[in-house]
Symmetry: C2
Amino acid sequence: MNMNFSSKLLEDAVAEFARLPGIGEKTALRMVLFLLNRTDSEVEKFAGALLRLKREVNFCRECGNISDEPVCSICTASKRDRSLICVVEDSRDVMAIENTRQYNGLYHVLGGLISPMDGIGPSDLNIGKLLERAGKEETRELILALSATMEGDTTVFYLYKKLKGIPVALSSIARGIAFGGEIEYADEVTLGRSILTRVPYKGENS
Amino acid sequence: MNMNFSSKLLEDAVAEFARLPGIGEKTALRMVLFLLNRTDSEVEKFAGALLRLKREVNFCRECGNISDEPVCSICTASKRDRSLICVVEDSRDVMAIENTRQYNGLYHVLGGLISPMDGIGPSDLNIGKLLERAGKEETRELILALSATMEGDTTVFYLYKKLKGIPVALSSIARGIAFGGEIEYADEVTLGRSILTRVPYKGENS
């Protein structure tokens, strides 16, 4: 839909919102009109929270995760298993894995994946620090939890080459059919791989 | 999902975005992280466009539509049919109707619908000005183009009562099965009404 804006100010604001991921012009307009109906102070609070985050945000100097302190609460936690480092693309993945309550090691946030198409090379990512951490005596294993996409695979392969010679175990999270997922709806690649990488059956609560 | 934010600043920004219509916490996080990856000037441009709109936006003093001028370009257009006024809920409806290129009259934007549930009464809407415009000699017909919801119907009924005694024709946009819509998928109310309000068949290009 080619919209006829009655106001340049409105058009500009909608254009900015339409740049957000997954937001089209119609949804952007709906958001902007919603904010226009809020009070001045509410709109200032909205814009202020974003500007403050952008100006004051810190990335943990150890793992690269978003943090209000120089070193994040996970890296400073005394009860965490410091021999494990789970390598992820961004802070969302840290939150998702933390929510499972199944992992008690540390993280390393790359801040993206290698993607020549988008002009993102290894030097744009938080890889130097990862190699440094991998080389520490306390580090025993790196768990690669990257997306099963071309960019994820490229990044895994790059890390694999860079980590050669560093005495650290490398693992990748398990791929397969989701729990509760129906086999007939699974994509062919996942289904095929899940048969090839089948695991011995050990009874219910293995 | 109950998210564990590693940063209060991040949490605040996500909470603000999650207030937007149709945006949950996960999508809000995705948007905020997207903006965090942009440059400072891009984020300032985003926030600035919104703040400028909120501070400088004008509503046409004739029809109530969003406008950069005191009177909007539709109300000042010399080629518009000034005897017709299409009454709509908000600026989005004006854009949607303008996009059809089927209407050449004026508009009147109410700025909402009567909704006791949301605490919106007639005095919160741009109704006084509508009654004034309806009473003008040049005005011949008001076309009510409001949503077919309880709020829309309440508003139509309120306007109908208020307009009694003012010599102006009242009409409502046609309701029925959408062009290209399949009858078996139409909801019962629409289908039932579309039979009751059937129109004589006049051949293809009537």
